[in-house]
């Protein structure tokens, strides 16, 4: 009953100044619209850029690093335990380049509940033979299905079918840059020379474009088995085990764990690509700052209009107080005016923001670096809308707070006697 009364008084005060109210609401609408559009666009952009590297990067990569032994024999001697030991010109041992005991590691990883999937990989240096010229290159031997599932491999194959890599023996998916240099197309046969001097003929079943030119100029993909054959190794030879986790935030911790558990080298995505996270963070921060600034400006508009309204409605406030409305009631009336401007403007802003981001999402955006992207990227995220409506309500509440307090403190005697 009481709420209804306060609401009806607020509503009629609002309607009495509906033009100003509308202007205030439009201010909120505008800022919420921009806020939503900005965040959706930035979010889309972040996802796109993250996708460029992060989606294709394993959360934890297990590999074997060629490096000198950390602990030298002299360190183990009891006589020298208390000393500083200097050994100059330490060289790495001649070791195998593959991850030892890879089959057991993969089996254990697949049973780990934190792990979403495992994709083994063989990386080998090769030369692409083009007539009399040899081009430096890298062949990634992959488990085609796992790679497609975990690292969206199929998205980057722009010609041919990625699954042919698995089905056709001795096949290769060439990087776009490599294919251009070699002037080959899908279906052609190319010749490569392995790092051990062996010549191999491979059939081109696809061409991929990652969006990073340096990668496309050098890299190619083949099946695990083909790569192992090129290297002349057995089919248990793996240089990398790529692990994708259910929760990316566990990566640093799990990388350490794998390192200790399996006696291998492991690197997490955060360490390997820290610059991407920083970039995403800064972009998000900027969009929030701009959005909140817009809202605060809108808040000042509401503050002004409420202040004006209070000066105009002094008499009404005085008589309300004289006839038994307390300061709290008057306060609530003005707070609810502010909140309804905020809510009304905010909800309209959400709708317009959705519309604007949808429009941005239709604008063509063609870039040779990103084969899968045809329009500007937009991220539709309910979270942005929630944040926007909460911000608009909170800002308008604070904008209304001071005027409402002023109204509640109006002394009716002063107003009535002043007449």
């Amino acid at each position: 009953m009481k709420l209804k009364l306060i609401a009806s008084i607020s509503a009629s005060l609002l309607m009495a100044r509906w033009r100003q109210t509308l202007v205030a609401a439009i201010g909120v609408t505008f800022s919420i619209t921009m806020f939503i559009a900005l965040l959706s666009f930035m979010g889309g952009l972040n996802k796109l850029l993250d996708g460029l590297v992060v989606n294709r990067t394993p959360h934890v990569r297990i590999y074997k690093e060629v490096k000198p032994t950390l602990v030298q024999p002299i360190d183990k001697g009891a006589n020298f335990a208390e000393s500083y030991n200097f050994v100059h010109s330490v060289k790495p041992k001649n070791e195998r380049l593959d991850v030892l005991n890879s089959a057991a590691i993969i089996k254990a990883l697949k049973q780990d509940k934190r792990v979403m999937g495992v994709a083994p990989k063989v990386i080998t240096q090769v030369y692409y033979n083009v007539g009399s010229v040899d081009l430096m290159g890298v062949i990634n031997g992959i488990d085609v299905e796992a790679e497609a599932k975990l690292f969206t491999f199929s998205d980057y194959v722009i010609a041919g079918n990625y699954i042919d890599l698995k089905n056709t023996p001795n096949s290769i998916v060439l990087g776009k840059g490599v294919a251009e240099k070699m002037l080959v197309q899908v279906g052609d046969i190319i010749q490569i020379t392995s790092s051990k001097g062996q010549m191999v003929n491979l059939k081109v079943v696809g061409i991929f474009q990652s969006g990073l030119q340096e990668i496309d100029k050098v890299n190619s993909y083949s099946s695990l088995h083909t790569a192992q054959k090129i290297m002349g190794e057995s089919n248990s030879f793996l240089t990398d085990i790529q692990v994708k986790l259910n929760d990316i935030n566990l990566a640093p911790e799990m990388a350490k764990e794998f390192q200790a558990l399996y006696g291998v080298d492991a690197i997490d995505i955060q360490t390997a690509n820290s610059q991407f996270e920083t970039g995403s963070f800064i972009r998000t921060l900027i969009s929030y700052v701009v959005g909140i600034t817009l809202l605060i400006v809108a808040g000042f508009g509401i503050y002004n209009i409420l202040n004006m309204m209070i000066y105009e409605k002094m008499d009404s406030i005085a008589i309300l107080k004289a006839t038994g409305f307390s300061g709290v009631d008057v306060n609530r009336i003005f707070i609810s005016i502010a909140l309804s401007i905020g809510l009304f403007g905010g909800i309209l802003g959400l709708i317009f923001g959705f519309g604007l981001s949808a429009i941005i999402g239709q604008i063509p955006f063609n870039t040779s670096a990103l084969p899968t992207v045809k329009t500007y990227p937009i991220e539709y995220n309910l979270y942005f809308y929630l944040v926007a409506i909460v911000f608009s309500t909170v800002t308008t509440y604070f904008a209304g707070y001071l005027p409402a307090r002023k109204a509640s403190k109006i002394d009716p005697v002063v107003i009535i006697r002043g007449k």
């Binding site: 009364l5 009404s316 006839t323 038994g324 007449k419």
Partner: protein, 229 residues
């Protein structure tokens, strides 16, 4: 003496700006149920100041004010608002109607605030009050469509809506012409006689004062005469 509805005891009031001046000096009197009292005196004698203290809107005073035998001194702002809402009806020199609401809603507002009755009941009561004042036909008009006398009658209806213990008026006829003043006075008189409504009216109109049941005359912040007419 059980019928005392308002009692003031030794009320002093000072204005501090720019110098401390005593505007009310040891005012003591009481109002009985059903009395029609007028307070009169020259401009600046403190009669309006007294009224605002009695109305609980002004809380900066010394002395004791009891309404319905309850001391007003210790009550909070919200409690005082409740007292004004329930026990006191106001009529001012200026009508103070809310232009955003129509006549009937203006009358209903204090009743809705009280929340004792449903909206339908309050609306019914408001129509009753308008009928007593002879302006029920204007119920759906906006205040700025009414004449001065009609507005003042709406204000009286608003004062009556919660069946208050006491109606207070601050120069209720001050802004009205002879004819309308007469009309308002007749309404007050009828309320006092037919409905046993207590009224406390501040006026500088000697003729108005002399026709009420009891007149309190003030001068320089003191009561100098208190007599039945």
């Amino acid at each position: 003496m059980e019928n005392i509805i308002l009692e003031a005891k030794g009320i002093n009031k000072y204005f501090h700006d720019p110098n401390t001046i005593q505007v009310l000096n040891n005012i003591s009197f009481s109002v009985q149920k059903g009395e029609f009292v007028s307070v009169t005196g020259k401009s600046g004698c403190g009669k309006s100041t007294l009224l605002y203290i009695l109305s609980t809107m002004d809380t900066d005073y010394e002395g004791e004010l009891k309404i319905h035998n309850l001391l007003m001194r210790d009550k909070s702002e919200a409690e005082l608002a409740r007292v004004r809402n329930e026990e006191i009806g106001f009529v001012f020199q200026f009508h103070y109607l809310l232009n955003e609401f129509n006549v009937i809603k203006n009358v209903m507002l204090p009743g809705l605030k009280l929340g004792k009755y449903t909206e339908q009941e309050v609306e019914h009561n408001a129509l009753e009050k308008l009928k007593i004042l002879g302006i029920e036909s204007e119920a759906l008009k906006l205040p700025n469509q009414l004449s001065g006398g009609q507005k003042q009658r709406v204000a009286i209806a608003r004062a009556l809506i919660n069946n208050p213990l006491l109606i207070m008026g601050d120069e209720p006829t001050g802004n009205l012409d002879k004819k309308n003043s007469e009309l308002v006075f007749d309404i007050f008189q009828e309320l006092a006689e037919s409905y046993q409504q207590s009224l406390l009216i501040v006026t500088h109109d000697q003729e108005f004062a002399s026709r009420t049941q009891r007149t309190i005359v003030m001068e320089d912040g003191k009561i100098i005469a208190d007599s039945k007419n």
